[in-house]
């Protein structure tokens, strides 16, 4: 499975250790956080309709075996 595990994290730390990128750790960190926060916003937008459904009914309906 050579191509499947991307070494994103190790690449990041390699870059962080290079001389010309003294500020890279902080910059990368905040840019990663910004990306993640954008993605999370989009995800919450995606599931907005789920969030409008009846959560109690949804949860309560998942009973695999009754009467126990």
């Amino acid at each position: 499975m050579p191509q499947q595990f991307q070494r994103n994290q190790s690449q990041q730390s390699d870059a962080a250790q290079s001389d010309e990128a003294q500020d890279a750790p902080m910059a990368q960190q905040s840019s990663k956080q910004a990306d993640q926060s954008d993605a999370l916003d989009s995800i919450l937008d995606d599931i907005e309709s789920t969030l409008e459904s009846n959560a109690e009914e949804y949860v309560g309906s998942f009973v695999q075996k009754g009467g126990q």
Binding site: L40, I47, A55, G66
Partner: protein, 517 residues
């Protein structure tokens, strides 16, 4: 608490010599996934049994049974408690097993969506079927995701219990699927229930590992290790790492048994495995909950020997007045160190036995996971580790909707596992917030294509041909049968005892010729 059950010989008395010729480190992997079902938006109540029977109606029509095999070699059946279950065909590497399991998700999803269509005339157009690839329902009924590993017969059950269980209990830090419990998020879906069932005198104890004497292979040569303790993963990365690291640990244990030497894991035994399992599951900061070892002194000495001590500041271990303590991360680091030492000597053979497994990458990723967890860098892992992905999502939801009810979080926790109509997991993948390893095409292909390097290839071709010809057939893991009863003149059978065998036997050829006729 019985950790292990087996009806037969425990193997401890068998010598390893007769098995030296066996393929050194080849292995067969299989994943059995039980699903949960529910319906929302219906005009009247629709229970799990109704949904499950609606899902299996096409299967029953075709096979006159709720137990069948598929053209990809997998087994599809309805388990007790109305759980649709899918057991992958035999795979020779973790990647293939993962692809086969994802194919199972697709098979199940299709059955669920078809059932939804069939249920709507009676239950209303809003009826929505949910198919949960998780391990606990809302009422606390627990169901499993069982991993199967073929291991050599000469490994004794005692060795497996003592040497593998501490690994299985601590690997949840990266393989746990997460669950919202009454006390908040816990790492493992199963830990609380395995423990609960053990502590109740009236409930049959649910063991963590089970080496039932059904190897589905030559019983003189193999056992089938049946791991019950694991969670169902949505994260493909977690699923792959779970299988790959367990395989490598098993290689060490097998080789030690083969040579009659110590594996290095003897000292890892825990005083109380189920309470350790539960305590780790509840420590979502991975904050160093100490494990109670059966032999702390032995562990300290062994850890020093393998150089797996690491500074306390990096997490995982600390030394206090000469008596060492170890937590889940420290235990995982120790297993990784022993495996690394083993690979220095046997890496080439392990690779040769399983060329598709990138061992260097697995070892690298294993260390990285533990480093990130020790550093508290959860953000680095939330696109790979299920329980951390949930934690990140819950925090985001709480920020946007500070007044969101607890039921909303419980709903999202379940929706993450819904492979039929769920929104959360797919959205995470779409926005790059969850890594995938198997492409959609590869999963789709695995729905009809068995692994080509095990007997599953033979089984799959047989099932495909029998279905195409609309001929009655039956299977189990080691046997293919045409015709229906003992009196049937057309009845013919082929036995396939060796899971590694891909060459057709005389019997198998005759069976296929009969189907061609």
């Amino acid at each position: 608490m019985p950790q292990l059950r087996e009806s037969g010989n425990d193997g401890a008395s068998q010598g390893p010599q007769e098995d030296l010729e066996q393929d050194g480190f080849a292995r067969i992997f299989g994943i059995e996934t039980e699903y949960g079902v529910s319906v929302t938006g219906a005009d009247k109540p629709c229970d799990a049994a109704t949904v499950a029977m609606a899902m299996f109606r096409p299967v029953v029509t075709r096979s006159r049974s709720t137990n069948t095999y598929l053209p990809n070699g997998a087994r599809l059946y309805l388990d007790v408690g109305s759980h649709p279950e899918y057991a992958t065909a035999e795979a020779r590497d973790p990647h293939t097993a993962l692809a086969q399991d994802l194919a199972g998700e697709q098979v199940m999803r299709q059955l669920a969506l078809d059932a939804q269509q069939r249920l709507r005339p009676a239950y209303g157009e809003g009826a929505t079927v949910h198919l949960f690839k998780n391990n606990v329902d809302s009422a606390g009924h627990s169901f499993g995701c069982h991993e199967n590993y073929l291991v050599r017969r000469f490994v004794s059950l005692r060795d497996v219990e003592r040497e593998l269980l501490p690994f299985l209990i601590t690997r949840q830090v990266f393989s746990g699927a997460g669950r919202l419990s009454g006390r908040g998020l816990v790492i493992s879906q199963r830990a609380d229930y395995l423990d609960e069932s053990i502590s109740s005198a009236t409930t049959r104890a649910r063991p963590m590992v089970n080496t039932r004497d059904e190897p589905h292979a030559d019983p003189e040569r193999y056992r089938r290790l049946h791991v019950i303790i694991g969670d169902s993963n949505r994260s493909q990365y977690a699923g792959l790492m779970k299988l790959a690291t367990t395989h490598l640990v098993l290689c060490v244990i097998e080789q030690a048994a083969r040579l009659g030497v110590e594996s290095g894991f003897e000292c890892c035994a825990l005083q109380d495995p189920s309470s350790a399992n539960r305590a780790i599951s509840r420590d979502v900061r991975c904050g160093g909950t100490p494990l109670k070892l059966a032999d702390p002194g032995g562990f300290t000495r062994a850890r020093a020997e393998y150089g797996a001590t690491g500074p306390a500041a990096a997490g995982g271990s600390s030394t206090d007045g000469g008596s060492a303590t170890v937590d889940a991360l420290g235990m995982q680091r120790y297993y990784a160190a022993v495996v690394a030492r083993f690979l220095e000597r046997y890496g080439a053979q392990v690779h040769e036995a399983m060329p598709r497994l990138d061992i260097d990458m697995v070892m690298h990723e294993w260390a990285r996971l533990l480093d990130c967890l020790a550093a508290g860098d959860f953000a680095a892992l939330d696109n790979q580790v299920d329980w951390i992905a949930k934690q990140t999502l819950f925090e985001a939801l709480r920020r946007r909707h500070p007044a969101a009810a607890e039921a909303r979080f419980a709903q999202l926790d379940l929706d993450y596992h819904d492979v039929a109509n769920g929104t959360v997991y797919d959205s995470l993948v779409r926005h790059g917030a969850m890594r995938t390893i198997i492409s959609a095409d590869e999963a789709r292909e695995a729905m009809t294509r068995p692994p080509q390097d095990t007997r599953a290839a033979l089984r799959g071709a047989f099932v495909a041909k029998a279905l195409q010809r609309d001929v009655r057939f039956s299977c189990d893991w080691t046997r293919l049968t045409l015709g229906s009863s003992g009196q049937d003149a057309e009845r013919a059978e082929a036995v396939m005892l060796d899971p590694f065998e891909t060459q057709a036997s005389e019997d198998y050829r005759r069976l296929m010729q009969q189907l061609e006729a």
